[in-house]
């Protein structure tokens, strides 16, 4: 028996709930798994006939974006173990459009959480919003919409509501298909008149875009953030029976109070920051590259000079630090099975510290508007850095323990460790406050230095100190860390990734 897991997003409008979209490769955020109910699924499976559970999944959608665990997959496996059912995983890459063939039989339940272009539900109703709107045409369960395409789709049911606050959205422009410019779409609108809506309709980027009413209701906000309801259901067997797993509400990355609403020059389109308050996609989904530094970064070169990130060239040699860790020693150039759990100490770092050269192998950049993290130190200086930058720190609450950590996971009480190029000493600054800051038109970079992964970024305190940063992994080409850890490690399941943060990563 075959089943397909479908994630569907909904919003309230008054007492009505309306569908935004549905997907077969819908992400399940790890911390949301606790709100799903697997009981109906396993009540159906535990019939004494099914002995094998096959799970076909896109790893990028199964592993939580919020931490490194495979919570949903683990929950399925545990249930199977409890019932004595054999559990078998079939992983596909995040951009796969086909799935491996698992032969069906009465003794198998084959669950798919991945896109399959050969399946009607996927290719028509998940991949194509116009197909879905056409399917649901006449239903009160979809937002009022305008769409028109040369392949025969047309709808225009928008009854513009201008009887709302001047800063409240009443329209949204979306792409028909999943591949679109995430910096621009969905584009959120506040139309003041019918003429403005008509003008937008006439000036859509192409016929592959639709305009819908923006669904407004107080129930679409929790703790000052906009939220979307996401349910998960399994359709199975030839007659498309349904197993409901429940769902959760997921919020935007920033609260509504983060910034005042402002518009682009047209006075209709919400500007980039204002739009962010309504977008519930995970931050990393916006990024095309797993960046770890930005155009403000100056790097210590091997000759002691400072090279700006925007001018450094492939083949240039930078200064890299070497020091031993208590666990995980990948800086030596040898793959390390235990880097995932790596940590060190202040004493060991200081006692074993030396420097060497490492060569830039590749550099990738992307310009974007995005959220960064501002860390303020006890001396009132601060650093602003990208959330996926990985820096060497002394951990909060410890006088000795050190580790590399992502800026997005820093804690108040952590100390950023600095290398002093004049004295070769290690100094530290304790973080006293952490906050989000919006960055306009920032250029972000992904660098790959080999054979040593550490590079030194000028603290710009004028004292010759440099923070110690680590290569990010982009081997899998994913826009976020599908392994859940941002860095290369041996648990990365992508075909061809050997883990360890070495050559080619």
């Amino acid at each position: 028996m075959r089943g397909t897991l479908i994630g569907t997003d909904y919003l309230y409008q008054g007492d009505d709930v309306k569908i935004l979209e549905m997907n077969t490769n819908s992400a399940i955020i790890s911390k949301g798994v606790q709100y799903l109910d697997l009981t109906p699924l396993f009540q159906r499976i535990n019939d004494g006939i099914i002995t094998e559970f096959h799970f076909i999944y896109s790893e990028a959608m199964t592993i939580g974006r919020d931490n490194g665990s495979t919570t949903f997959l683990d929950a399925l496996q545990q249930k199977c173990d409890d019932l004595g059912i054999t559990f078998e995983k079939h992983e596909v890459s995040s951009d796969a459009v086909t799935i491996p063939n698992v032969e069906d039989s009465n003794t198998k339940f084959v669950l798919r959480q991945a896109y399959d272009a050969s399946a009607i539900v996927d290719s028509l109703y998940c991949n194509d919003k116009m197909e879905f709107l056409d399917l649901m045409s006449g239903s009160d369960d979809i937002p009022e919409s305008y769409y028109s395409s040369s392949d025969g789709f047309f709808g225009n049911t928008i009854d513009l509501d201008t009887d709302i606050g001047e800063l409240e959205p009443n329209g949204i422009v979306k792409s028909r298909y999943p591949a679109y410019d995430v910096e621009k779409y969905p584009s959120i609108k506040r139309y003041g008149t019918e003429e403005e809506l008509t003008s937008d309709i006439n000036n859509l980027e192409s016929e592959d875009y639709i305009i819908q009413e923006f669904l407004t209701d107080a129930k679409n906000f929790v703790d000052g953030r906009s939220v979307v309801m996401r349910s998960f259901d399994i359709i199975y067997a030839h007659n498309l029976e349904i197993i409901s797993l429940g769902g959760y509400r997921m919020s935007s990355n920033v609260p509504m109070s983060f910034a005042d609403t402002a518009f682009e020059d047209d006075g209709i389109t919400f500007d980039s920051l204002s739009r962010t308050k309504y977008i519930t996609k995970a931050l990393a989904e916006k990024q095309k590259i797993p960046y770890h530094t930005d155009d403000e970064s100056d790097i210590l070169m091997i000759d002691g000079s400072i090279g700006n990130i925007s001018t450094i060239q492939v083949g240039d040699t930078i200064t890299s630090t070497l020091f031993e860790l208590i666990s995980g020693s990948e800086h030596t150039g040898e793959p390390s099975d235990d880097y995932l759990e790596h940590y060190g100490s202040m004493t060991m770092t200081t006692d074993t510290l030396s420097t060497t050269g490492s060569e830039l192998q590749s550099i990738v950049s992307q310009s974007m508007n995005t959220m960064f993290v501002k860390a303020t130190f006890s001396d009132n200086t601060f650093m602003v850095d990208s959330p996926t930058s990985e820096v060497y720190i002394k951990t909060s609450g410890s006088a000795e323990t050190t580790q590399f950590e992502f800026v997005n996971k820093l804690l108040v009480g952590d100390s950023i460790l600095y290398y002093n190029s004049g004295s070769d000493a290690i100094t530290s600054k304790e973080i006293t406050n952490l906050e989000m800051v919006w960055q306009e038109d920032v250029t972000i970079y992904n660098l790959d230095f080999e054979p040593y992964d550490y590079f030194l970024v000028d603290s710009k305190q004028g004292d010759g100190t440099f923070s110690i940063m680590h290569n990010a992994c982009n081997y899998c080409g994913s826009p976020w860390a599908p392994c859940g850890n941002y860095w290369c490690d041996n648990n990365c399941g992508y075909a061809g990734c050997t883990g360890g943060g070495f050559g080619g990563k």
Partner: protein, 42 residues
């Protein structure tokens, strides 16, 4: 010992569905599937 951290500064917050929400979503999803069945299985 490494501190393995799950909390992030920039992060999506997750909340449970209200029980009234769940029944509404179940009803609407069933309508979607019914329409797909009408179009492709009938």
């Amino acid at each position: 010992m490494r501190q393995n951290r799950t909390k992030e500064i920039i992060s999506t917050e997750i909340h449970p569905l209200l029980s009234a929400d769940k029944s509404k979503l179940d009803t609407i999803f069933a309508e979607i599937i019914e329409k797909i069945k009408e179009k492709h299985l009938s």
